[in-house]
């Protein structure tokens, strides 16, 4: 079920009503109901893949309990390995089987050996990478002794399948989310109002920015060999805002929805396009995934403790794995590697933690130096997104080649096309950037701090109305495919 669908507009109030009005006296019933609602939410797309969520839930719940009773180091390690093998095994089969098979066949063909292997028609279950990582975090935390295993299967199922963040995150840590299912939840007016506002902002970013940018980004990327340099640059910019609006919009809706039910999810985006260097960008983009890799991969690999070269190796590993997490395509791997290369000079000069605070803190405007750094970081990000969006590496390189050499030969993208539609879109992107700049020290771009309820109402009503009026053609969230 899509957040920006009529189905969800019906589903959400119904679940909200039953949850707070009929089941508010019994925590167990609330958790059970949330699990059922989440399974319905997921099964609405394809009920067959509910079995995968159930398998992951059962496996990690059982392994958690076994870990509690087990003190033998080797057995404990074996249990952890079993959890990793089950979860990554399912993920690997559904997401990477064909990729490995194709590359294996191609690699052998380079040496003159021809292998006949038929790829399978595998449907990629929506959000599999997200809930797999979420449930893995539970077993790892239990294994490390950082979390007590739960005996409450209903609460655990609700944690794994919690519908607001099930299919596209934020990837919650068990330490943060699971305990929230144990505690009685009380309706909090301020939290619900704030959540509702965050949903409105998320819908605006998804339906107006992402869905409209998608039309032009697709048009240019799909015919990139016909467009002029400037048009290709616009195509890359459209995709840059599409992916941000799409993914951060989803996160805002997810966090806002969770707040309606009394839950606090972690922040997933912190205005990444205002970053002054790539390290800062990665502290602000898809935070739940970056920190997941930091906690469960980078630090276990030794982090920065083993000297500079070890650190460089580890950084490359997490960026490449992070790229591969996004999809079974070399484009994502190169995208990850490219970001690692961007990161390298900062790390070598120990400058990767130079920009921790929000840019131009307590000021309205950034300094010229900050503008320059933000511009450079943004440009590097735009270049990297070309790999992310391209169909394959050949496409990415030809896009880049034309971007820097085509000049004005080829089609010129006309911003006056479609009756001013593109001009409207630029205006909305400007509105989004303005709102986010003004609230860059807040949780989300529309988090207004004004004592005047009339102002809050006026802004919310305007953004909500603009969203419905100027929504683009409805499209799936990009990150569903990951």
């Amino acid at each position: 079920m899509l957040f920006n669908s009529v189905d969800f507009a019906v589903f959400l109030p119904v679940v909200f009503f039953i949850y707070w009005f009929l089941l508010n006296r019994n925590l167990q019933y609330q958790n059970l109901f949330l699990t059922a609602a989440s399974y319905f939410f997921y099964g609405y797309w394809d009920w067959r893949f509910l079995s995968l969520i159930l398998i992951s839930s059962l496996a990690d719940f059982t392994i958690g309990l076994l870990l509690k009773k087990q003190f033998n180091f080797r057995v404990r390690k074996g249990l952890l390995f079993a959890s990793v093998a089950i979860n990554l095994g399912i993920l690997g089969f559904f997401k990477y089987y064909n990729f490995f098979l194709d590359n294996f066949v191609q690699a052998f063909s380079l040496f003159g050996s021809e292998i006949r292997a038929s790829s399978l028609q595998i449907i990629l279950p929506v959000g599999i990478s997200f809930y797999t990582f979420q449930t893995l975090s539970y077993t790892i935390d239990v294994y490390r002794g950082q979390l007590k295993p739960t005996k409450d299967f209903i609460a655990f199922s609700a944690f794994v399948s919690f519908f607001p963040q099930l299919v596209a995150g934020p990837i919650e840590r068990a330490k943060n989310l699971l305990p929230q299912f144990y505690k009685k939840r009380h309706f909090d007016y301020a939290k619900a109002m704030d959540g509702s506002q965050q949903i409105i902002w998320g819908l605006f970013k998804k339906m107006v920015i992402a869905d409209n940018c998608a039309v032009y980004a697709n048009m240019i990327f799909e015919n990139s060999d016909q467009y002029s340099s400037f048009s290709l640059l616009l195509g890359a910019l459209f995709f840059t805002f599409q992916i941000y609006g799409d993914f951060s919009g989803y996160s805002d809706i997810a966090i806002g929805t969770a707040r309606l039910f009394g839950f606090d999810l972690m922040k997933n985006f912190a205005y990444p396009y205002f970053s002054r260097d790539i390290a800062e960008f990665w502290r602000r983009w898809h935070i739940s995934l970056s920190t997941w890799f930091r906690d469960y991969l980078y630090i276990p690999l030794g982090g920065s403790r083993g000297g500079k070269w070890m650190n460089i190796r580890n950084v490359f590993i997490i960026f490449i794995v992070s790229g591969f997490w996004h999809g079974a395509n070399w484009t994502f791997i190169v995208w990850g590697a490219l970001n690692a290369i961007y990161f390298l000079p900062l790390m070598l000069s120990n400058a990767n933690r130079n920009h921790i605070e929000v840019v131009a803190k307590d000021k309205l405007f950034p300094s010229l130096r900050e503008v320059l750094f933000m511009g450079i970081t943004f440009a590097l990000t735009v270049l990297a997104w070309i790999f992310f969006r391209a169909e394959n590496l050949g496409h990415a390189f030809s896009y880049l080649g034309r971007l820097f050499s085509a000049g004005n030969s080829g089609l010129r993208f006309n911003i006056f096309m479609d009756n001013y539609q593109v001009l409207f879109l630029f205006t909305f992107i400007a509105i989004m950037l303005f709102m986010e700049w003004m609230h860059r020290d807040k949780e989300y771009g529309l988090q207004l701090e004004t004592p005047s309820p009339a102002k809050v109402w006026a802004v919310n009503l305007s953004i909500f109305s603009l969203t419905l009026i100027f929504e683009g053609a409805t499209a799936d969230f990009i990150y569903f495919q990951f």
Partner: protein, 287 residues
């Protein structure tokens, strides 16, 4: 909880009020809406001739010029209307008003649209008799493009300065037609007329109310002209009703349209082109 629910209800109520106000703004400032509301609230209209069609007819047929002489005319065409919408408009008109028109000009564009298209124009759908309203009829959802049109009026004098005269939208701006007629133009898409259930329904309605139906193909930019003569071309529709198509988009037929001065872009005539075209219709069809 009560406070939250009151806020949500208040928000939704304000949203509905905003939607309602929007309809009022559209009725006043949007040509299609304005015209539609007028046409369903005429006070005993005595039109002899009605023009049906979409934006090509809306811009391209001058009902005031058509009315000189004895044929009082009104242009009912609506931008973006399907032939099904035209059928609904005509049916409502003949059922609602005592005086029936003597003639109906169905001005179509087979070079662009498929006449089987089933969509009812949102403005007509919204204002249809007996309409039951649902969530998707909220003006903010249903009339998205009208907002864009309104903004265009605010920022562009070309849109702002247009006038609605007897249902015709008069646009003065000139955008030259720089296209060329192909060496081998395609023939007129007669099948499009023949097989359309909505052209058939209009023809049947005209028979039922004893109205003369004049079907014509609107002129297009040069590159979309066809190889069929101007006619009239006799055609028997799939429901057995014979009609004649006046093919004003024939590549062989010239009536003095100036590619530099008579177009507003995308095969739409400006007020100068519309006047020339209307005179041609008047003389050829003896209206």
């Amino acid at each position: 909880m009560k406070k939250y629910l009151l806020q949500i209800i208040g928000f939704l109520a304000a949203f509905l009020v905003l939607n309602f106000l929007t309809v009022l703004v559209f009725i006043k400032y949007d040509w299609n809406f304005n015209k539609r509301v007028k046409s369903i609230t005429f006070n005993n209209p005595d039109y002899d001739c009605l023009v049906l069609g979409n934006s090509f007819a809306l811009d391209g047929i001058d009902a005031e010029l058509l009315s000189t002489g004895s044929c009082n005319s009104y242009n009912l065409a609506i931008g973006g209307a399907s032939v099904r919408t035209n059928y609904i408009q005509l049916k409502e008109y003949v059922e609602q008003y005592e005086k029936k028109p003597e003639k109906v000009i169905l001005a179509l564009d087979s070079f662009r649209h498929d006449f089987k298209w089933d969509e009812i124009h949102p403005v007509v759908d919204f204002t249809m008799k007996g309409k039951t309203y649902g969530v998707r009829d909220l003006p903010f959802i249903k009339f998205k493009w009208l907002f864009r049109e309104l903004i265009k009026k605010v920022i562009s004098s070309r849109h702002r300065d247009a006038q609605l005269v007897k249902g015709q939208l008069r646009l003065e701006k000139k955008i030259p037609d720089a296209t060329k007629t192909p060496e081998k133009p395609v023939p007129l898409a007669v099948e499009n007329f023949k097989t359309s259930p909505w052209v058939q329904a209009i023809a049947q309605l005209c028979i039922d109310y004893d109205i003369q139906l004049i079907v014509l193909e609107m002129p297009s930019k040069a590159e979309q002209r066809n190889s069929t003569p101007v006619g009239p071309i006799p055609v028997v529709l799939d429901n057995g009703i014979p009609i004649e198509i006046h093919n004003f988009n024939s590549a062989d037929f010239e009536f003095g349209l100036d590619p530099e001065n008579d177009w507003i872009g995308n095969s739409h005539l400006n007020l100068y082109g519309a006047a020339k075209f209307t005179r041609t219709i008047k003389s050829r069809l003896k209206i």
